[in-house]
Symmetry: C3
Subunit: 624 residues, 3 copies
Amino acid sequence: MIPELGVCYYPEHWDEAMWAEDAARMVETGITWVRIAEFAWSRLEPVPGHFTFEWLDKAIGILAGHGLKVVMCTPTATPPRWMIDRYPDMLAVDGAGQPRTFGSRRHYCFSHLGYRAESVRIAQALGERYGRDPRIHAWQIDNEYGCHDTVISYSDHAKTAFQGWCAQRYGDIKTLNTAWGNVFWSIEYTDFDQIALPHLTVTQPNPAHELAFRRFSSDQVTAYNRAQAQALRHATDAPLIHNYMGRILEFDHFDVGADLDIASWDSYPIGFLSDRLDASEAHKAKYLQQGDPDMQAFHHDLYRSVGKGRWWVMEQQPGPVNWAPYNPAPLEGMVRLWTWEAIAHGAEVVSYFRWRQAPFAQEQMHAGLLTPQNIPAPGMTEAAQVAREIAQIGAITQKKADAALVFDYASDWSWTTLPQGADFTYFRLVLEAYKAMRRAGLTVDILPVTARSFDGYDVVLAPGLAQIPDSLTQTDSKVVLGPRTGTVTEELRIPTSDTSPLPQFSESLPPDHKRSVQDAGHVVHWQETWDVADSDQTIISDDAGKAVLFESDGQFRLAAWPDETLWDTILGQLIAAKPTGDLRVRTTQDHIFVINYTNEDQSYEGHKIKGCDLAIFKDGSRIL
Amino acid sequence: MIPELGVCYYPEHWDEAMWAEDAARMVETGITWVRIAEFAWSRLEPVPGHFTFEWLDKAIGILAGHGLKVVMCTPTATPPRWMIDRYPDMLAVDGAGQPRTFGSRRHYCFSHLGYRAESVRIAQALGERYGRDPRIHAWQIDNEYGCHDTVISYSDHAKTAFQGWCAQRYGDIKTLNTAWGNVFWSIEYTDFDQIALPHLTVTQPNPAHELAFRRFSSDQVTAYNRAQAQALRHATDAPLIHNYMGRILEFDHFDVGADLDIASWDSYPIGFLSDRLDASEAHKAKYLQQGDPDMQAFHHDLYRSVGKGRWWVMEQQPGPVNWAPYNPAPLEGMVRLWTWEAIAHGAEVVSYFRWRQAPFAQEQMHAGLLTPQNIPAPGMTEAAQVAREIAQIGAITQKKADAALVFDYASDWSWTTLPQGADFTYFRLVLEAYKAMRRAGLTVDILPVTARSFDGYDVVLAPGLAQIPDSLTQTDSKVVLGPRTGTVTEELRIPTSDTSPLPQFSESLPPDHKRSVQDAGHVVHWQETWDVADSDQTIISDDAGKAVLFESDGQFRLAAWPDETLWDTILGQLIAAKPTGDLRVRTTQDHIFVINYTNEDQSYEGHKIKGCDLAIFKDGSRIL
Amino acid sequence: MIPELGVCYYPEHWDEAMWAEDAARMVETGITWVRIAEFAWSRLEPVPGHFTFEWLDKAIGILAGHGLKVVMCTPTATPPRWMIDRYPDMLAVDGAGQPRTFGSRRHYCFSHLGYRAESVRIAQALGERYGRDPRIHAWQIDNEYGCHDTVISYSDHAKTAFQGWCAQRYGDIKTLNTAWGNVFWSIEYTDFDQIALPHLTVTQPNPAHELAFRRFSSDQVTAYNRAQAQALRHATDAPLIHNYMGRILEFDHFDVGADLDIASWDSYPIGFLSDRLDASEAHKAKYLQQGDPDMQAFHHDLYRSVGKGRWWVMEQQPGPVNWAPYNPAPLEGMVRLWTWEAIAHGAEVVSYFRWRQAPFAQEQMHAGLLTPQNIPAPGMTEAAQVAREIAQIGAITQKKADAALVFDYASDWSWTTLPQGADFTYFRLVLEAYKAMRRAGLTVDILPVTARSFDGYDVVLAPGLAQIPDSLTQTDSKVVLGPRTGTVTEELRIPTSDTSPLPQFSESLPPDHKRSVQDAGHVVHWQETWDVADSDQTIISDDAGKAVLFESDGQFRLAAWPDETLWDTILGQLIAAKPTGDLRVRTTQDHIFVINYTNEDQSYEGHKIKGCDLAIFKDGSRIL
Ligand SMILES: [Zn+2]
Ligand SMILES: [Zn+2]
Ligand SMILES: [Zn+2]
């Protein structure tokens, strides 16, 4: 597959007179895809039922006329003002019970069936007009589900739907009471319609209640997306895509992805470092203008899995953004590096957000490839360079990775509901495991808990996985379970069957409390105390003699949260690691990509790789 | 008195088939008391008016059949779901005006008279059935009043009741206006029904208004508890108990205690260190897995006073809990140490919470004496050891302490309302005084401001006491007043009568601002400037020459908040201190208890006391 | 002009029997002005329509009888309780949608026309009775507009008024849509009555929407004040004053000031250091008991401008206050120093708040010149000393300053709405520029953006000014624009006309990220990258070679936020600085004032100036 470049474009933001020149410059830059109509509902249907597609027809004509392939969007992330008049109760409700009002975007509750029907209606209308149009090569549904904390809604619509969901899942109310352990504090219900949403309680609600509500909330996103997908399936054969946002965990992306053809995500390395990375201040300072060296790769590998092999970067940061607490500029070379890194992980398309910086509204300080004055911004030059380099490098083919990591959304919901320690964060735990694998030189596949097989890997890590699937205990791969893996049931209870091995007890530890593991690192955040059987083999113990890593029945159990050094020790024990220092290495069928996120020269097998630069090797030779 | 051990048990959480074995194991462990039915309302009255006592009868039969003494509880901390249908307005309302909903516990407003009547009704029903049952040896009313911030409620019921309370207290509205100084910002009322609850105002409401509301809120708890106590008095002669929670200050425990026979409290040393101790990070790290060395003792001494000599630990932490920000395990020996420390301070019973860890609901990560798999947890072994040791040591008799400390709930409310410095915290001030007394080797009585006499002590400390009772100025004990003592009236005004000695002015100091006191420590947080009369004697001055401790008319005035070193200096000046370093010493009629909260060996008069261990001396010999 | 002293007095707080002695002591202290009736509405009109002026007549009689000049206040900051019965919807509404209730002060929404009419009515009633009374020498309207965040209100009254304001400003809804760029996220309106207030949205509302609402909110304050001012104009010829509070930025003081005769402000140096100064902990520790050495001077210069030359300190801190997080006492000499500093900057009157500390209500811990026991507090002595010194020094005449600084409220609203970096704070930026000018020995004028001319200054700084007025580009003064100056339009868009020079891109930087500027300091918080033309002259570059200060078309462009050292470097390049170290120097027609805010001796041209002391020079000789 030869990767391609794209760009996000909003013709409705600009004078028609500019469209042709814009299209010409896109082509000149080496861009082949253009995404449009994402937020344009007020221009497509300014009055309910009255469509004004003419301007869009014209824009498509100009763009496609220059040879660009169009990604058409359903504009459902931005319902227009008249929709609120029609459905005043369509707004989501926050945890404090306040409606989240009109005036920005994503102002809808996933449980509102009236708005869901409207979303289907606009998707149908677009499908009817453009579904068979050969200039439209792909469709995007909505934009960034879950962004701005929009999955969870405490609306009355959500409450009614949740009660029905419970009735469906549990059949009768006694089953629910038993499953949740409602006897605990006399919370037993006699009817499904007594079940409120789990907020505003005096102290913590029943975690089983909370987890059920999170499962339900995720299911509502899936159902909402499916409704649009089904509408479009009737109208088009082009692939359907959603653009997920980084580190959004409130809905199951694998579930949504099952109804779509391609997964895509929006990659903002510097924004994410600022606003959603758990890391030390020193680490954040080191990578302030580059982004974390594993955060993007993690998402690339995740969405390759969500997309069943097919995935894009739908929005690529091209310069400073506007929405993080602090917004420095990427160092020179980083836009190119990010693009190449996505390609190394299998991206079919990397699409920059956005063509030209808007001089108005919320994102006016968000860079584009062009400035508001229509002057090329630094990102433009780097995009053009990548386009030239792609032409030079040619096709890239993915292969099965050395190692695998299990990632499970419901596990995140479980530990968010029952953290036991104030900073126990599933995403952080998994990302730290991923980082350790990358430091060990491994190329990684990320797999859902529902993967049919985990066979054929050097090692499979499954930290913090709420339940252990049989496929994971019956694989030929070396499997590492823990910390916390398999310690709760799907109903968020401690398993009491004999077959579930469990620690004697678990401890959460405050941030500054580190427990030494014999010069091999430290236990941080979390430690379990296991009764290690005589038949088991302890591989690593802490200074107090507690088993930190042990083998039992052919599986490895990690009984603690390791710091960086301890992770390296652990992987060193399990596999033949090839430590890469500050570099990151990804191997495909024919190429080796070596990426330098630091701002200093690094050396890789005798080759110098400059700061913010990468090398590509093929057949033992450096070809870039 | 020979102390005993108990345990908290929830038969309704377990299969009936397990009850007999549980009872047998309790007895085997050396446990003699078992508390039941605390949260079982939904099982005792699943439908309004329809009681199902049969299961409880059976549980009592089994437990008592094994020789255990039963503590019966009224389950009013967990009103069942149907109660909310009956009284939708029974929920408390938070400071933002939001009802605090059903779904956890303590979901009731103390001012709701309908729910109060229901509480009396269930207490009566239980009293009728079990009041004269000789197997029931004591009663617990409700559970942990005030836990989860549940004393203060801004409901309409609270508002109406507060207006009535004001009418009762002040008689006519002009008296209230004058008492509160409402002229200040034209807040004068013309009718009691104009008085709102003091929240959601533009800036601080009148502190007199806020203090009155806090007095009222405390009175509502007392009235609520009294209603249940009166109902049970008719039905039983067994002692009535409430289990107070650590560091709950929003109601006057002495007032509630006056209607009961025994005070008890729930002691969670490691949880409290994490979530409600004011201390440095270094101190918290040192005692992370032991708890603060004075926090428990303080509460023991407090509840001995609240219980007029009779008190229990109703819930004793047996392992890691689930509700603190971080939940590490107790170090080996600590469960035993905590139990012995309570006994040293006069506990009649120490009862572990809970028998077996629940595998479901909110507290599933809270350790019990048994794991959910029914395997003994570490706490079990230590409890059994204490039982054997009690048998060996025999009776322990309390005696009047060397020194006294005055503790007053209304003072806390006064300074919370009028802190003047962002971190001025009455509890912290008093606990630091208590710590200083303990470091000086003193055995301490804690007394309410209403104590008839303060006579017969080497020293009586009264820091931060809002008003000074006559009994405190007319005692033969050495009394230390201050800082801030006697500087406001009951209506939270500065006293203007000539007889109230007052500082010229007072200063609150930011955390890092310390004022040196001539190599004898520092003033922190608070300093007063007094016009020391010629007839007074200045004992300690700061480097700027200001009196920090002086004697006036035979009383000592402490004009500042001392740091640890300065406290030691001050007590060294006033009494013959016997500094105990990191050890804590408590003297009873015949025994000396020496407690080592550190994790290292300590030495006491030539005896080595290991980390997390204690020694008991009798007639000069170590007997444990 | 010979400066005078005043005091704030509340006769209604005290027994009538005390008034005469109070007046006599005021006069004895050297006080000539007394402000009364500020919060007395409940005593002036206890029942709607029923006025009780008799007590006030009597108080005026006694005060004026002792020779004091009276400042009469309208008591509209404290509407009495019956007003709420009349207009339950007059309360302001906070950002969460909660009414801000009765029980403290400032409990009104500026958009409520019913309350506005009531305010006019009480002003008229006072005007009728006292407007021509020769004992009343000035009037104060309301108290501290905007204190306690009271400018912005999300009430329904505000919403309706805002819709009308928008209709007025934009004429038709399409113009508004275009101006705001509402197409961006399909936020286009079809009617003005669809426009909600910009709060509770899912993510950030349109910044143009937010800025419009802030402009509107400021206009409401102006209109409210104007209504009272007009009512009083008919009744009196005495000057009208408002007492602004320090660092209140939510309304345009120049707009309000245009309707008044004298500007005054309430100066609480130690309170402000604690609660509203952006500075390092070390700086705050150094000046803990003195206040920041520039914060007061900045406000003095600002209000001299707002008052078109005539200004007072209406409330001067006399000792510890009650409302800051921590409230230490001023060091000896500071009350005198603050008073003299105000005089140096041109204050006609410095009036202490308050005469006697109230022993009740919210501010009972706020010092007065007398303690509640009627004993002179330390501030009293210093006030008396200033009175004697004024008599000795005689008249002081202001002159045009060396340098000017542009200050613009709408710029603050713009950057608050669109900060781009979490700590980008306009006030801080401007105050740091002011501090740099003062460190360079400059006497400074603060000018509004509407100033007719900026001519005749050595240098004019305009940091963070949202738009650049023509008068600023057409002056004979050296003008420094930036950072961020002129980078947005009045509708908060990026200017796209060719004539607006703009950076290529801008970066916000996290607090610990500093960029070195060749041993001359650092760039912090903000940096712009400009395409410096060949015809421009780069004066200072950072280590990476980026222009930090450059000259273009005769104007200086500052492309970054400088730290203290870099500011000093910059000013050193532009003017002949006379660095004053820790001292501050202000030059008037005939005098030089040298102020020492430190607690240590400093030296000025061979003269020793003690800590917390000042020197006054005239004709080269030290006269104080
Ligand atoms: Zn996006
Ligand atoms: Zn409890
Ligand atoms: Zn004031």
